[in-house]
């Protein structure tokens, strides 16, 4: 990526607290995803003490109803949450951008191209109109709760967003004369679309990527909360909040609060990072 090399991302981030915060939390998340379960003070999927111990020196975030250490589970959670969010977003990005390039590039082409383009958009409409939670529940109902199903459901949900954002940019880029120059140079339509148009239309989708990862974490948790996500007792933020929510009412506030806070901070970090990335990638916003 040329814009990243032109100016130092770090220099840019240093002047923006939001960007810096986002970057730090994301790096922390990635580290926890890699080493979290290994460095956690207690096993993450087994009872290690009494049920519902309030936060103390041993169990910093307390324990849940089955006696598992919440701090250790929170440390282990990014491995599952971040993986699901990342994998599903990468799939959505790849499919969404490819379809977006095709539907945008051929929107003003010959008859067959126009039909393909319209077809893609209508299918995207249908997918977006379908309630995500119903879709995930149906999938779980068919083949049982599993990480794979969550990834499929999330990817499916996110494809139309990447598609639309890419299509919009492609339509703009398509009208620039270098596209005609590429055709004159002897490129086929597909080669022009993917070699020349796509790299010039990626920036919005890239910005969207970071925000989508954040919201995918939120949705993963949401799916677990309604029982359509990963199966218990996996250390996953949504599951922990769901289990903890029942104890919140009886006064054990720590059970849901700490996982909830972690979730909020993570989603916010990805959002802030995404917003600042847009400014960073857009040369007209900088001097």
């Amino acid at each position: 990526m040329r814009p990243l090399r032109d100016t130092d991302l770090w220099h840019f981030a240093r002047l923006r607290p939001g960007m810096l915060f986002g970057l730090c939390v994301i790096i922390l998340n990635v580290c926890l995803a890699a080493f979290g379960p290994a460095i956690a003070p207690f096993p993450t999927q087994a009872p290690v003490g009494a049920s519902l111990v309030s936060p103390n020196g041993t169990h910093w975030f307390g324990t849940d109803v089955s006696g598992m250490d919440i701090f250790s589970r929170v440390m282990a959670a990014p491995r599952i949450d971040l993986t699901i969010a990342l994998v599903s977003t990468v799939i959505a990005f790849a499919c969404g951008v490819a379809l977006g390039v095709i539907s945008g590039y051929f929107a003003q082409g010959d008859r067959a191209g126009r039909i393909a383009s319209t077809l893609i958009m209508r299918i995207a409409d249908i997918v977006q109109a379908f309630p995500m939670f119903v879709f995930a529940l149906a999938l779980v109902g068919l083949s049982g709760p599993s990480t794979k199903n969550v990834i499929i459901a999330l990817a499916f949900l996110n494809i139309p967003f990447f598609l639309r954002v890419t299509r919009g940019t492609v339509l703009q880029v398509r009208s620039r004369t270098f596209v005609e120059a590429a055709i004159c140079a002897g490129n086929t339509s597909l080669r022009t679309a993917f070699v020349h148009v796509m790299p010039n239309a990626l920036a919005p989708a890239m910005v969207h990527f970071s925000t989508t990862v954040g919201f995918s974490i939120l949705l993963t948790a949401g799916l677990s909360f309604v029982g359509a996500g990963v199966p218990p007792p996996t250390p996953e933020l949504g599951l922990m909040i769901q289990v903890g929510a029942q104890n919140m009412i009886t006064g054990q506030w720590w059970t849901a609060l700490f996982p909830g806070l972690c979730l909020a901070v993570t989603v916010l970090a990805f959002s802030l990072f995404g917003d600042n990335l847009r400014v960073f990638l857009d040369p007209t916003n900088r001097r």
Partner: protein
């Protein structure tokens, strides 16, 4: 007498990431009452910043470091924003380039005018509306009461520029400043706008500053000229002296670049080219080409109507006309970037208009194109070397080493350094990029290159360099050119033959020099008489058409020019004139210019219908 405007030792800095840079450096200038000053300079010379500073509109990161700007003895730089507000619009009028962008797109122009009128002088709305209508009619907008309700997008570029002028002169300012008053406008409209501007300033008896990169405008409309370069004033002289004997080297370079000196050998060469071409099949034969576009409401817009012409081997043919005449559409049809609706296009005798796209792609190496905007026509993520190599790689079989050698040879040919291959487009200047565009077009040894306004986005001196390059390449490589342009001085310099297009129809085709020195068709006469040359002594014989080019959706009946043509008779509204040979080497579509004997008479003939 104190000067109307006096700028002394003005220095403006740009505060960037890498420290401050001077964009204006010790600028001195004076404008007296009723005087017209022309400021010329190439892009980056600081002329627009100068105007902005005088208006007090300078924003960070630009900053005035030293200097004075006095209007009628009053220092402007130290005034508060509030005091400036009363001066702007009342004493100082500003009309900037790109008229369409300067108007608020969501307000009718009437509202924009009344807002300006009422901002400075409180008045009732109906008074303001009446005054606005008056202003519009004073800038030559017909039917002003209806036009007051028009939104900017409903007006043509020329009309928008008139509206901008109306805004600028709304309060009869003491000093009017216009930035590139004709950029983006056609020659015929430019002439009208400039005449209008001159008349407006004369009636108001105010001072005028015209900023332009076009020396011809300065030569004809200004009394004094100020040459700027890199934020400094290079020369400040009365127009007559300046054009007769410029003192500074840079001024001489500018003048030489702008002069439309035609190579003497072009005429001889053109005869030779035609002789050579007579035996073999021409490179390109366009026969009765028609292109229609569907528009909203199920109607058809006929952009190109029944156009036929040929281009011989190694011949340069120009296609000229105002915007909306369909000249670019012709070029795009030939390259199959869009499909023609009717007609045939033969390339070296073979019909290419019906070839399947896959087969035509193999022919791409034979027909190439150079585009108008050098930045826009380059993929900004592709290195220069790859851009030049791409057509070779896709259409020829060459080893990687051969390809690299070919790219180096091409760079030599267009006058770029070999090191440029690793650069990205944004690291090059517009002129260099246009050279890359040319290199890319000649990379595959084509037989025909279509140039779509290759110089209109370039500065004067760069334009001259590119034209020289094109001329040189044509002589050395013998490639046929189709040169689409509204830059008539460039056409005269480069092309053997010229075809004039009006509303999608060819109206006159002939040998360039003969056509330029004696245009026969009324439209060609109007077009050529509005061309300004950078020479104040040039005598313009005005041959004006009425109004503006009509919309191609509602084409007039008969001869499409009849409603604007001073020679029109009642036949013209009914009969569509054919493009006939009216004298050797000249084809013409007009009922009223009948044969060789009648040469461009200035009187209106009573009845000259040839009765076909």
């Amino acid at each position: 007498m104190p000067a109307l405007l006096e700028v002394k030792d003005l220095t403006v800095e740009f505060q960037g990431d890498r420290g401050a840079r001077k964009v204006l450096d010790g600028v001195h200038l004076q404008v007296r009452d009723g005087e017209t000053l022309g400021i010329v300079g190439e892009s980056g010379s600081g002329k627009s910043v100068l105007l902005t500073t005088i208006m007090g509109l300078l924003q960070p990161p630009w900053r005035v470091t030293t200097g004075q700007v006095r209007l009628q003895g009053r220092e402007l730089l130290t005034l508060s924003e509030r005091e400036l507000g009363t001066i702007r619009g009342q004493e100082l009028g500003l009309a900037l380039a790109n008229p369409r962008q300067r108007l608020n797109p969501i307000l009718p122009i009437g509202r924009q005018l009344t807002n300006v009128l009422r901002a400075h002088r409180p008045q009732r709305l109906d008074e303001a509306v009446a005054r606005a209508a008056e202003l519009l009619s004073s800038v030559g907008i017909p039917d002003p009461m209806t036009r007051l309700q028009a939104y900017p997008h409903e007006l043509s570029g020329g009309m928008c520029q008139r509206a901008i002028l109306a805004l600028a002169i709304a309060h009869a300012p003491r000093l009017l400043m216009v930035d590139e008053p004709t950029s983006g406008l056609d020659v015929t409209i430019s002439a009208q706008i400039l005449d209008l501007l001159r008349d407006a300033v004369r009636t108001l008896r105010s001072g005028l500053i015209v900023v332009s990169r076009d020396l011809a405008i300065v030569a004809h409309y200004c009394e004094r000229v100020l040459v700027m370069r890199g934020g400094r004033v290079v020369e400040d002289a009365p127009v007559q002296w300046f054009f007769a004997a410029p003192r500074e080297l840079y001024s001489r370079q500018l003048l030489r670049a702008a002069a439309a000196s035609r190579d003497a050998d072009l005429a001889e060469e053109s005869a030779a080219v035609m002789n050579r071409a007579s035996g073999v099949a021409p490179v390109l034969e366009v026969d009765r080409l028609v292109k229609r576009f569907p528009v909203k409401g199920g109607r058809l817009l006929t952009a190109v109507n029944d156009v036929s012409f040929t281009i011989g081997r190694g011949e340069a043919v120009a296609l000229v006309g105002e915007s909306g005449s369909g000249k670019t559409t012709v070029g795009r049809c030939i390259l199959r970037l869009i499909e023609a609706s009717e007609g045939t296009i033969r390339f070296k005798g073979h019909d290419i208009s019906l070839l399947p796209t896959a087969q035509f792609r193999k022919l791409r190496s034979r027909i190439q194109m150079v585009f108008q905007d050098p930045f826009d026509s380059m993929d900004s993520r592709q290195r220069i070397g790859d851009a030049i190599m791409e057509p070779i790689r896709l259409t020829k079989t060459m080893s990687a080493g051969e390809r690299r050698a070919r790219v180096d040879a091409l760079l030599d040919l267009v006058g770029l350094e070999h090191g440029s291959v690793s650069l990205y487009p944004h690291q090059m200047s517009a002129g260099q990029l246009q050279r890359v565009g040319v290199a890319r077009a000649i990379a595959t040894d084509p037989d025909l290159i279509v140039f779509d306004e290759p110089t209109s986005a370039l500065d004067v001196s760069v334009r001259a360099e590119i034209l020289n390059l094109l001329r040189d390449l044509q002589r050395r490589l013998g490639i046929a050119y189709l040169f689409i342009s509204h830059d008539l001085t460039a056409v005269r310099r480069l092309c053997h033959r010229t075809a004039v297009l009006y509303l999608g129809r060819l109206v006159e085709v002939g040998e360039t020099e003969a056509l330029f020195s004696e245009p026969l068709h009324p439209y060609s006469r109007a077009l050529l008489s509005s061309v300004l040359y950078p020479n104040p002594a040039q005598q313009r014989v005005p041959f004006a058409l009425q109004g503006e080019i009509p919309s191609p959706i509602n084409q007039p009946s008969g001869c499409t020019l009849h409603a604007r043509c001073p020679l029109a008779t009642e036949h013209c509204a009914r009969i569509v004139p054919e493009l006939d040979i009216k004298r050797p080497g000249r084809r013409l579509a007009c009922l009223n210019v009948s044969d060789a004997g009648l040469s461009a008479s200035d009187h209106v003939p009573e009845h000259e219908g040839s009765g076909r």
